[in-house]
């Protein structure tokens, strides 16, 4: 699509279309949005993050990524929709439907959720990576010879030639190789041979580390409606657990306010399972306090593919939670 206005947000798109959408978004809002290349994938595809900034050097920043697990398509699709939200700086620039929704929404008088995004952007930069695992995402799409829609991992070669790919969310340098990750290359949660062995993980980790001023790290997954915080690697409470739990609880209420979707809130260890080498633990252990993982709306009945008519509603409710967290982070500098 040549204009974001005509982009079909209620459909799943391939990588090329998403990258094209990003270019259009940047071109339409050069004073606010830019595209940052943070490296290349194993199969040499570029890895891009969108940067939303009102200017200034190395402002405190928020990181959001989606799609580290390739088959969780509604996370990518939601991130596309969410990317399109930030540039709406004035009410009159919003699409008519959204203006109506916002008015309706304000009428609910849920104060915490009314904070406008521009106030966050005046304090912080936001980086949004719509496709964190481009190789896996491409592999999960139809091409003339392939159909691997249930693919989850990266695409690198492993010690077993029959089982390529690593679970990128077990490959971070955070208690790497501990319990809750597989050492079997054929396992769906295979951790890889060493921490950050996967170039996709290394690129993101290097970017965040070199930036040095990230205050929040959020990763969007899609299965079973959860909002989680560290730790994943064991069951002990993170030092900031009470605050993180409170923020996540409030964010889940904001999310719930629109469609009534119920999220379970807790640490990854206690909410899903023990998982070593997870990205939110990596971020938290490096001082990024507000570190959260989302599992977006998906009951499983469609096999990691919500019907496309649920994309926008999923994205919107997620946006409410993200917006709450972003505002909170902005209001609580550390």
């Amino acid at each position: 699509e040549r204009k974001t206005k005509s982009f079909n947000f209620a459909a799943y798109h391939d990588l090329e279309t998403i990258y094209s959408f990003m270019d259009t978004l940047v071109a339409s809002h050069p004073d606010l949005i830019s595209k940052v290349k943070i490296g290349s994938t194993y199969e040499n595809r570029p890895m891009f993050a969108l940067k939303f900034s009102t200017g200034g050097e190395k402002k405190p920043a928020i990181w959001i990524d989606a799609g580290i697990h390739a088959r969780e398509w509604v996370s990518h699709a939601s991130a596309v929709w969410i990317a399109d939200r930030w540039h709406c700086r004035k009410e009159d620039e919003l699409p008519i439907a959204l203006r109506f929704e916002r008015l309706t929404y304000i009428a609910t008088d849920f104060k915490e959720n009314r904070a406008p995004v521009p106030s966050v952007l005046s304090q912080m930069d936001i980086f949004l990576m719509i496709v964190a695992n481009p190789d896996g995402y491409v592999f999960s799409h139809i091409s003339p010879r392939e159909f691997h829609r249930l693919w989850r991992k990266s695409r690198s070669v492993t010690s077993n030639p029959n089982c390529p790919g690593v679970d990128l969310n077990r490959n971070w340098d955070a208690e790497f190789s501990g319990p809750g990750a597989s050492d079997d290359p054929c396992g769906e949660d295979y951790r890889g041979p060493s921490a950050q062995s996967e170039i996709e993980v290394k690129n993101i980790a290097d970017f965040i580390t070199s930036h040095g001023n990230f205050k929040s790290f959020m990763t969007l997954h899609a299965y079973s409606q959860l909002l989680m915080y560290p730790y994943a690697y064991n069951g002990s409470n993170a030092p900031d657990q009470p605050e993180l739990h409170d923020v996540a609880t409030q964010a889940s209420k904001a999310l719930n306010s629109w469609h009534g979707t119920i999220y379970k809130v807790g640490s990854i260890f206690h909410t899903i399972e023990q998982a070593s080498g997870a990205s939110v633990d990596w971020a938290y252990q490096r001082g990024i306090k507000y570190s959260f993982a989302f599992e977006l709306r998906d009951t499983g009945e469609y096999g990691f593919l919500l019907p496309s008519d649920q994309i926008v509603s999923t994205a919107r409710e997620t946006w409410f939670a993200l917006r709450y967290i972003m505002q909170y982070v902005s209001d609580h500098p550390y």
Binding site: N8, A11, Y12, I142, R145, E146, F147, H148, R149, L150, G180, C186, E188, D189, Y223, S224, K264, I272, E273, Q274, A275, G300, E301, Y302, G303, F304, L305, S308
Partner: protein, 94 residues
């Protein structure tokens, strides 16, 4: 092209610690080609596993022998994928 004809997704609900131990053994044991859609086992939430058609009877027998409740979440994964493909083609045309 990888096909999933006859593969099912089972939603397994562990109800006791014994169930969890049995499921952990299942995870570590024979290679039945299981694709765990949710990892980890607890009594609080179910786990979804895609089971290849060839392993279906063995896995269901295993679960029933150990009195572990399960339901069939997706009856035939390939049928689901075929429907998705048709929807995507339709979307592309639009």
């Amino acid at each position: 092209e990888e096909l999933f004809n006859g593969d099912q997704v089972l939603r397994i609900q562990a109800e006791t610690e014994d169930h969890i131990q049995v499921l952990k053994e299942l995870e570590k044991g024979v290679d039945w080609g299981l694709d765990y859609w949710t990892h980890g086992f607890s009594t609080e939430r179910p786990v979804d596993i895609r089971v290849p058609h060839d392993s279906l009877y063995a896995i269901k027998d295993f679960l029933m022998e150990n009195n572990i409740p399960f339901t069939v979440l997706i009856n035939n994964v390939q049928e689901l994928l075929d429907r998705e493909r048709a929807e995507m083609v339709s979307n592309a045309e639009i």
